[in-house]
Symmetry: C2
Subunit: 505 residues, 2 copies
């Protein structure tokens, strides 16, 4: 598909690249990175004659590869097994340019500005009364970290575009690189460029947490794009509104366009999705089938029902209120005690950050309290597992009666889409109105309002008592939606828009 | 002025009324309430033949008055001294209708919903990770408290409008009464009605803290108005945007109008202000003159400079970061230590609420730490006084070199306008970009970005070192602005708009 659409070279940029170099007893190893984004983009890129993926060194071995190769460029063929090729590859290959930056600068870029500051602002996580307190050291970290690393990556992108005669399709990924597009635009005015943002875009008031000296640079940086891409119309609208309010530029809120000098910048929404074929294959694997049988036996015996959630332990995921709502459900419907179990698979995340560590402790406290109150016949209502185990998660997706996604804010949330593809029990999606997936799947789900545990308890009750025909119809429709709007569609829609802008159609 | 503009009866509604009844050894007493709003509206109302001010009973004696009089109606002549009149008053009089509600309902209305929930949402004070957690009891408090009390007040308004043949100008005040306008509109379709909101209006995402069952009722309640009034264009824009996003109604963001069925609702901004003549009179009083002399002697001797702030101890006022910024200023400019003093007059507020009490403790801790670090020659840099003393505040306004207003969010902030009227030292206004007054006075001020203590420290330095001619020009211009757009203008602009809507011009 995609390779026939392209008449221009492709330059990609993301912080984490599609390949990971490592070292074991046999020497250097190379493997494909995980995640839907990498699968989607790598699947496209390796079939293009002229492409390069600019990314950061994520390991010691990545850095070593970067240093050994001219400008950090390396080509890898994925078949029959991933291996570096010298010279012109014969057949599909991924071309990567690994950028190594100063470790102190990278620490400020990643550990001070990208996470937590931008992450917290865009997910609305700051309790503004006391946090953040931005100090001189944050200003320094912005200049010598975020801005410096952005410039280093932008220089690499410019270099690759120039090596291709100054014309290329450029795809920038996420909140790490808000300053790149403007720099690339200035150096290479003929690029066609989409910056896609995978997390929510909040309102102007949230951006006012940053002083204008910084927020205006971030916004003008993004406006070097032709298209700024989001998962939902809501985020795209907030982007245009915040540009209007904070920069005073002329905008069209119906068309979602912004006028910057003689250029027009478009805000667009392309909901990211999953790869249904790959998921089906995992769901049918022996390991998942065995896990699913065990879960059935353990949680769904004698007609018991199973609620599942799968999340990182990020405060934005709202795990604590989710459990409080489940506790309120059991308080208000004692007939459910012993009849409904809750399996929570939580992947510990950023445990070196105080807020995250404290949040995990609070999760444990709330679970213990609810289990102490509602254990019956030796069966405790909540089974909390701090693990990252994708086959186990897929097994839980297959057999759950309710999936709970209660996030305060979440760019998309692919768990909801994964469940829609593999669930075999006509499970009900219980989706927060503040996750991107709600814009597509909300009509087939019960909606959760994430600050209101009473409302969430009532929604869980509705999900658990929904008549079978309704559950069936909704889950069928959700599955069809996701299979139609899959990750290939996400990418194709972006490419179609860029081709139109580049004048190819 | 205003009395000649009016061809219709006037019905006012606010939670706190213009009169306070009390009891001393001589029996029942009556006095005029304090505050700019009461002065402005009472000055208008008492000269109108046909008006009534509906308000709540704020004291035991208010409740007694309400019970003794038919429908809680009472008329008070303010001259030569405030006294209740029986029958038709001869000359100007304030007609008040005091509404008494069930104490438990009022507690839920005021102590659960108006403050803190609506106040916290509209000032962006919730740290969303863990607060709020809305429970069944909050839902109950909404129905039996906020909604019930709104209905009781709305019934009183309807009753007064009907007693006037169903046609009246109705002015509703503030966030306590979001459900009133719709009810009045349904019962009395011929009213001309402005609901004025004195606190900030945040974005749709902030309103999503409430479940739709509640936020949609609040919004539709307000849309019973002809005009929804705010202090600034920013708030009015946010209101129209949030109605568009949360209710899906058609809006015009340039005209700031909303279409509701066959009606058009207008969002307008009327910045509230002060009464310059009344302020001049206070500033010239013997008490203030004496205070000012003492402050000059104590703080401004030997060319020392004085920074002043006057605030309630509400977390929205951002007192802690304000002091941290002052501390950073002294750290970075040791030459200022011993040369600049900071007088902070803070009125303790809502000390029965945990967040408020904790906040006061933190203020004390931060001040002690900075004073311990920077006391020089027996002179400590910060003088923190937990007092409410208006004459002392006005004296500080007169003699300060810098006024600091660092709020995270503040509907208007009249302190900035009071200083602009009475300051005699060409003081510099240092104003947060998030206070309503910044929209009018920002160009004459140095702007503070309230989450960024480094930026605030630099702005304070700029203010303290600003050349005399610049300071003079700015303070002159700010004073002129406030004297031109005074509180009478605030009211007249609203009335002019309503007269146009009612077809009188």
């Amino acid at each position: 598909m995609a390779e026939t659409l392209f008449d221009l070279p492709l330059v990609l940029l993301s912080n984490r690249g599609p390949l990971t170099f490592d070292r074991d007893s046999s020497g250097r190893t190379v493997s494909r990175g995980s995640g839907g984004l990498v699968s989607a983009l790598a699947g496209l890129a390796e079939h293009l004659d002229d492409h390069v993926w600019v990314c950061g060194a994520a390991s010691e071995e990545d850095a070593a590869v970067a240093r050994e190769n001219t400008d950090g460029r390396v080509a890898v063929q994925m078949h029959p097994f991933p291996h570096v090729v010298e010279g012109d590859p014969d057949g599909p290959a991924l071309r990567v340019r690994i950028v190594e930056t100063d470790p102190a600068a990278y620490a400020d870029f990643y550990g001070v500005w990208s996470n937590p500051i931008l992450w917290f602002i865009q997910h609305g996580l700051y309790g503004r009364t006391l946090s953040p307190v931005l100090t001189q050291s944050d200003h320094t970290a912005f200049e010598s970290g975020y801005a410096a690393v952005n410039l280093a990556y932008a220089d690499a992108v410019v270099d690759e575009v120039r090596a291709r005669g100054g014309k290329a399709v450029v795809l920038l990924q996420d909140y790490h690189f808000y300053l790149v597009a403007e720099h690339v635009r200035r150096q290479c005015p003929d690029v066609v460029l989409t910056h896609f943002i995978h997390i929510p875009w909040p309102s102007a008031d949230d951006w006012r947490i940053l002083p204008p000296a910084i927020r205006e640079r971030l916004l003008y940086g993004l406006l070097g794009s032709d298209v700024v891409g989001f998962h939902t119309r809501r985020y795209a609208t907030h982007f245009v509104q915040s540009v209007q309010e904070l920069l005073g530029l002329p905008v069209d809120l119906d068309e979602l366009t912004i006028t910057v000098g003689d250029r027009t910048v478009r805000a667009r929404y392309y909901p990211i999705s999953v790869d249904p074929a790959a998921l089906d294959s995992v769901a049918g694997s022996a390991e998942v089938v065995e896990y699913a049988a065990t879960l059935e036996q353990f949680f769904r015996d004698e007609g018991r029902q199973l609620v599942v959630r799968v999340d990182r332990t990020d405060p934005s995921k709202n795990v604590v209120r989710g459990f409080l709502a489940f506790g309120a459900l059991l308080d208000q419907h004692p007939e459910l005690v012993g009849r409904v179990g809750f399996l929570a698979l939580l992947q510990p995340s950023r445990t070196d950050v105080t807020e995250y560590a404290d949040y995990i402790a609070l999760v444990g406290a709330v679970v213990a309290e609810i289990n102490a109150r509602h254990t019956k016949d030796g069966r405790q209502p909540i089974d909390l597992r701090m693990v990252e185990d994708f086959p186990l998660a897929v097994a839980a997706y297959k057999v759950c009666d309710v999936l709970m996604v209660s996030a305060i804010a979440d760019g998309m949330n692919l768990v909801a889409k994964e469940v829609a593809v593999v669930n075999q029990r006509d499970g009900v999606l219980a989706l927060s109105e503040n996750v991107g997936a709600h814009e597509e799947l909300g009509e087939f789900a019960v909606t959760l309002h994430p600050f209101d545990i009473q409302q969430m308890a009532e929604a869980l009750y509705e999900a658990l008592t929904m008549p079978a025909p309704d559950r069936h119809r909704r889950m069928q429709a959700a599955g069809e939606q996701v299979r139609t709007y899959d990750v290939a569609r996400w990418l194709n829609d972006q490419i179609d828009d860029l081709r139109r802008l580049a004048g190819f159609v």
